[in-house]
Point group: C2
Chain length 126, copies 2
């Protein structure tokens, strides 16, 4: 599948790579780019899909195992998955009948880093 739509974090030359959200005022371009990723997370269905995908033992999950958890149509679930993919949070591959999804941890790592205060590394919630 095309990755051309993916948001790529930390590659906006104008504002510099990896500027912390909490340490330096964000530039406009970087704010636009980052807002897309947070917007993708700003929906309960997408958050649940992301957590189902991320927490899956083995690292990937068939779309056929995602849809039964929701009282939503397959096209609606697919739309939410597409938005997560466009935000660079997950990727997928078709194998035969089904599409399989997995987390792109570099994006969640980046977000975690942006939200972490200097000198206070975040600890994973358990």
């Amino acid at each position: 599948m095309s990755k051309q739509e993916l948001v790529v974090l930390g590659q906006d030359g104008a504002d510099g790579c990896c500027t912390g959200l909490l340490t330096t005022p964000l530039g406009e371009e970087r704010a636009v780019e980052l807002a897309k990723v947070f917007k993708a997370l700003g929906d309960p269905v997408r958050l649940r899909l992301l957590s189902m995908i991320a927490s899956r033992e083995g690292g990937e999950i068939c779309v056929c195992d995602l849809t039964p958890a929701f009282d939503l149509s397959q096209p609606t679930i697919s739309h939410h998955l597409k938005l997560l993919r466009q935000a660079g949070l997950i990727d997928c591959e078709r194998r035969g009948t089904w599409v399989y999804y997995w987390l792109l941890p570099e994006t969640t790592d980046k977000l975690a880093g942006l939200l972490t205060r200097p000198g206070q590394p975040a600890e994973a919630s358990s």
Copy 2:
């Protein structure tokens, strides 16, 4: 100012406190609650406001120092600030003519923790 509207993270008894987003499938209630906070971050103006507030030396900033950075009306800026406040990301206090804003780091710490993979503490971006 009233804090009754604030989203309080990690206090939803049904789904348990502090379940990691990446380690366990999120429950519905917790997803709804968390989505509100991410949605507040899903806008470039709000992200820039948050980073201006968070990175301010001294820990707080007058609204009179925020508005000149944007080509937006005072009511629009105030609306964005209200959404950040309702999400529990910032708080404020009126002193005389002006309102002063500061970061609520417990919320960003919580988000950073939720997005951090177990065993891989996030490092603050610099």
